[in-house]
Symmetry: C2
Subunit: 305 residues, 2 copies
């Protein structure tokens, strides 16, 4: 049963931070298990600022090795270790990430006192990189200046729900509930079979959050994020900067809205804003001309998936 | 002529930051030429916060390669490059620093578009690592868990000052002023020699700022920081934590005060506070029992040297 599936924005700036915007980082909360997506410089301070419990982070996903997406990771790992963490941590990211962290630990003589499980992403289409009874994590390739992936976190559909009133009417014993939840029919003592759909209600549906960190406008993305309940898509520039967006392999707000529309997502949030924009309203207004249900992924905001 | 010689604190926490304390970094301003000392994670955001002009930074000194003293450097260099810097930057630090930064640039495909001049510190006593007409920079060895140096920045004594009234009395021409400032006597047309000290006033004295980043209590330091106008000394713990201080090669507030007293400095500021201390007053009160003219090196404060 998924009671909580939400995303808190910790950083929404592009490569150059601003006085009030930090580089990329987001925290996904699934039933109080935390997944950190990207970890720009200063992420640990943002975690403090928003009173997030470090100990609940079980996974860190890194989209790519531009500094604004991973330079907060060595410091965060050091702090977790200093604070006595012993639980393993999954680090999911591109091939160069593990050697970089090992190099940092060597040069700084830092000893991380808990196990790090590295899982490498790759660029070969949609890849399942983690699964458990509650959710799956997938990566998918993005077209950026260096190897880069997006991520999708998808909760699993829950078990069928017991319709207590109907079960009581048919005198179904509690011991049969688990098989009902699993979708099985119920055989009464008389031999009469009661169909599962009479005794149960439809399960909680799985939901999907998709994260597109840094990418040029790319229609290939649509298939990966199709029908997501929430899509984060970078929107570094306004469309008047299209040429610059193409040169730097970034997306405009208009293009992000177009991707959201084509992928029929339920909601779009945009971020990774260029430092040139003092006010961000024009970006969200531009995206809304393509896809109305768009919001700014501002730091400190939490979005339900 | 040195009009400004001051230090602004950008970070005052030890390895684990807190919600309102950042890892080590300080900005030294000498006549609007800036020298950054240490560059913990988030330093570039602190530079923004305190409205410091990035472009004026000409040197970055790194004391050692623990993450809380240099993890802000790759991001800062990237931002300077993105912002169009072309002026060279001196990077002064221990031997592993250059390879680390080069490794980061390689893995992240980051191209720093201005020249970096690396200057390596060493552990062989007091070393002059930079000199110009206004000031000298020295490094000196500290006893920490890894190779680590402190720094001293010392402005040069100014030229002797012209005593205009007396010069006029002796009808000294303006063309002779430069040699007077350089300390030479003046020969009148009559052949009479007027001693320099009659025609000039004592010059502006040089001043010294000493920085002791991370160190166990070490009386060797006294000789290096002797008579400094301003001494920053780490004070990670209260003296009741002496055992922990020794284990981790850090200093207590009481010990920092004792170093300041023995070195006859004019003023002491303490920092690098353990995250365990919610309030810092007990640390400064403890240091003052040894050396009264002590202040907390709190973020955003500026101290004249």
């Amino acid at each position: 049963m998924i009671n909580t599936f939400e995303v808190t924005i910790l950083g929404c700036s592009s490569a150059s931070p601003t006085p009030d915007r930090h580089p990329s980082s987001q925290l996904v909360n699934i039933n109080n298990q935390y997944i950190l997506i990207d970890c720009g410089e200063g992420t640990q301070n943002q975690i403090f600022k928003y009173h997030i419990k470090f100990s609940r982070i079980s996974k860190i996903l890194i989209s790519h090795l531009h500094g604004d997406h991973f330079l907060g990771l060595p410091g965060l790992l050091s702090t977790l270790s200093l604070n006595g963490r012993i639980e393993p941590l999954d680090i999911i990211g591109p091939p160069g990430l593990q050697p970089f962290l090992e190099y940092f630990c060597k040069v700084s003589e830092t000893h991380i006192k808990f196990p790090l499980n590295y899982i490498e992403t790759n660029m070969y289409g949609l890849q399942q990189i983690f699964t458990c009874d509650k959710y799956d994590i997938y990566s998918f390739p993005l077209k950026h200046r260096i190897t880069c992936t997006g991520f999708m976190i998808k909760t699993k559909a829950g078990p069928r729900k017991i319709n207590k009133a109907v079960c009581d009417k048919y005198e179904v014993p509690l011991t049969a509930y688990n098989s009902l939840k699993a979708g099985e029919d119920y055989a009464m003592e008389s031999g009469h079979i009661v169909e599962n759909k009479i005794l149960t209600l439809d399960p909680q549906e799985g939901k999907a959050y998709s994260y597109v960190s840094d990418s040029i406008y790319d229609e290939e993305i649509i298939q990966y994020v199709q029908d997501s309940d929430l899509l984060y898509h970078e929107s570094t520039f306004l469309h008047e900067m299209l040429e610059r967006a193409n040169e730097t392999f970034h997306t405009t707000a208009l293009q992000a809205g177009a991707i959201a529309k084509a992928a029929s997502v339920s909601k779009l949030i945009i971020g990774h804003f260029s430092a040139r924009y003092k006010t961000l309203e024009p970006l969200v207004e531009e995206a809304r001309t393509e896809f109305m249900n768009t919001d700014l992924a501002l730091e400190g905001l939490t979005f339900a998936v």
